[in-house]
């Protein structure tokens, strides 16, 4: 376990800037490192297997130069960017990857990754899109098969007791991060959106114990700001989207005078809200958490008695988070070629607007090259709602 952190924000900045450096160091000292994509990455199982889970990220400032020779440009721009980074050796410390089935862009490119990266271990985790009881049971079987596959690779038995310990650790990590999120409720928030994004990115590159230590350290540091920080007025913005893993967009929002106080992002609140129940059947509890508690646009939710109930089941949690964090503007940021989010836009936008919160919908690329036009749109939106 790493030493207790005392300068969390500086460490987060370091891990953010040198993404993957800790995993690389752990690899050098003999650990196995397994990468994953998306909030569906089964980190508890990876932790229980004794491997270092590291979530892969892209770089919005890095143009895609190698991926286009192997992967279609109609694929999610985030996936293309991360794949490009992997081809360029950014993740050459990986022993393997688990690719959760989130969307067509993960499903249909899984083999593209596997064949080109040639990692010693590859596993496609077939997460269903549904949440009914048969889907839950099916997903439990899928997770059990993943456990078997990982055991074969690592040579280490993954026991229920080990899984239970991993579940407890990751729940603690989630709670620590939620505590930090809580410091954004003040007006102005004690931690800026840019700082928060860097902590979120740093955390997903660390073993769970180190993540807990980092997040607690940041929380302690930020809490001390309470009396010292002056406030500037500004809209309290919530950013809704999926694979936004860079502070550049957040910087644009905050440079325009707003405070990013909440998110519904894949590396953000999606990861940290909804614990895994502690039960005698950890795999069943994991299936429950990833299918039912984690609400993604790739999960079909339609069991309501009518459409309004369905909308509330799909988006009610976003509204409640917006209320809890006193959000007064939402930016819905969707990548081009994203069917799961793209088909949600009219319903999600109107749902939030009906709650009295204005929404700016932006469809864009995973690239800093488009930020100037995004900046113009955001500034105009913030002026309009001022």
């Amino acid at each position: 376990m790493a030493q207790a952190e005392t300068n969390g924000l500086a460490r987060a900045e370091q891990y953010y800037g040198e993404y993957g450096s800790r995993a690389r160091a752990l690899k050098a000292s003999g650990s196995k490192v397994i990468g994953y994509l998306t909030a569906l990455g089964p980190v508890e199982i990876l932790t229980a297997a004794g491997v270092v889970p590291v979530r892969l990220k892209g770089n919005v400032f890095e143009p895609i130069t190698r991926a286009d020779a192997h992967m279609e440009t109609i694929v999610c721009p985030f996936i293309r960017n991360v794949f490009d980074a992997a081809l360029k050796g950014k993740y050459d410390f990986l022993d393997g990857m688990v690719m959760p089935h989130q969307c067509d862009s993960t499903d249909k490119t899984s083999n593209v990754w596997g064949y080109n990266l040639k990692l010693p271990y590859w596993h496609f985790l077939n997460v269903p899109h549904l949440t009914d009881d048969p889907s839950l049971e099916f997903f439990r079987s899928v997770l059990a098969y993943f456990v078997t596959s990982l055991e074969r690779f690592t040579g280490t038995k993954i026991t229920d007791a080990g899984l239970a310990r991993a579940v407890q650790k990751h729940n603690e990590n989630r709670q620590a991060m939620r505590d930090l999120y809580g410091l954004r409720k003040t007006d102005p928030p004690l931690i800026s959106g840019v700082e928060m994004m860097k902590v979120l990115v740093a955390a997903m590159s660390l073993p769970v114990d180190e993540s807990i230590a980092l997040v607690k350290s940041v929380t302690e540091e930020v809490r001390k700001r309470k009396e010292a920080t002056g406030g500037r007025p500004g809209a309290r913005v919530m950013l809704v989207g999926d694979q936004i893993d860079d502070a550049a967009l957040v910087q644009v929002i905050e440079d325009a005078g707003a405070h990013l106080v909440m998110d519904y992002l894949s590396l953000g609140s999606k990861m940290y809200w909804g614990d895994v129940d502690v039960t005698p059947d950890p795999l069943g509890a994991l299936a429950e958490r990833y299918l039912r508690k984690l609400k993604l646009p790739t999960t079909y939710i339609g069991s309501g008695a009518n459409y309004e109930e369905n909308l509330d089941a799909r988006f009610g949690h976003i509204k409640r988070l917006a209320e809890e964090f006193r959000v007064n503007a939402v930016i819905l940021f969707v990548y081009k070629y994203c069917d799961p989010y793209g088909f949600e836009v009219p319903a999600l936008k109107s749902f939030i607007e009906k709650a009295g919160v204005p929404v700016l919908y932006l469809e864009d690329e995973y690239s800093a090259s488009t930020l100037p036009r995004v900046k113009t749109r955001i500034e105009a939106f913030l002026e309009m709602i001022a």
């Binding site: 694929v75 083999n111 889907s135 596959s149 079909y300 069917d339 088909f343 009219p346």
Partner: protein, 443 residues
Amino acid sequence: MADEKKPRTLATEAAARIPKIARANITATVKAKEEGKKVAYAFIVCGVDEIMRAMDIVPAWGESFSGICAAKRDAEKYLQKAEAENFSRSLCTYATCNLGFDMWREELGGQMPPDAPWGGMGRPDMVLGSGQQLCDPRYKWPQAMQHYLTDVPVFVGGLYYPPWDPNMDQKEQEKFYVKYATEELRACVRFCEKVTGKKMDWDRYAAVVDLSDRTWNLFIETYELRKAVPCPMDTGDAMNTMVPISFMLGTQECYDFYQALNDELKAKLARKQGVVENEKYRLLWGAGLPSWFALADFQYFNDKGAVFPVETTYRCSEAVYRLDLPKTDDPVEHIAWRWVRFWNHWYDKARMRPGSMPEVERLIEYIEDYKCDGVVFHSAFSCRSWHAGIMLQSEVLRRVYGDIPILIMEGDIVDISSYNEVDTHNRIDAFVEALEARKSGRN
């Protein structure tokens, strides 16, 4: 105003009958109301055809309607309507075309939008979607539609198969996949019973399943007649003759259609009558939905002496006896096994060729069985489901099978703004030159 293009010359009489059949399918969705039948928006290759047919539910195929709008070059007005609602142009254009149409019909209080292609589609009583490793729009499109047709109930069932992993035996997993698919199909039946107010007649369902099995067998037997040289029917026709197997599976009319096509092809074989007079190149349509507004491009190939005796597109079936399905008295479970084994039945072969993959084994099988000289793919920008991964297939094919001319065309299924006829024909010309060079090299 629609900009209709002169249709492609069809080689078979069967294909020439398709527009009338497809139109009747669409008209049936409007007539259903008068006949007291329920209409379901449905998606092809979702395992629910037999359920709908056994329960007299009239399927309304959004993919078919959007394809027809595209073929008539009359989709733009619906695409724009969807875009005005914030549906991106980069989303599946089958869906956005259909959603634009749905919105328009709702604005008119359920009346058909003016000048709707072939009279338009009837308003659904239900939607049968599907969660798969195939196509996100199959569950997102129904959700999006429900925003405008809020009273229409939606069912989405899960239908998965063990993913390809060269180091794992899919048979270790298939039982829990089949169990899950069976349960989801039963849930679909319960949903349909609730909406229609009728109970499933399980004997009738079993008979429909038997008919659809026999149709799969006949379909494959018929298409395999195209192995002949010269080829009696090519992909240009198959993009029409796919209508019954895709949209009418489980009906006698579907079976009879392939019987008639079978007879017609055998007659052509007897006369040694090919699609083109001087067949120079035989091509595999390797993957991709076609540009429905540019089917005449198949004619362009034909004019160069190139024919497509085989395609993977709309061939989501196999002779059932080749799938080695476990015996079961439960027709629902049978469909589940048929589904899983269909998608997995190239896995063992792929495992035997190091570096290969199931999709490529399928290509190799077709290249060899149908004596193909090259492979053509089409990459449609709005559809990740069928079109992401094509580059990998071509890479792996070359790596494990050897150098073979490959063309990847780019366009879309519905959105004509992506299409440039001159550029497309230039690329085809260059590809044909490569085919010729390779043939000359052999000689």
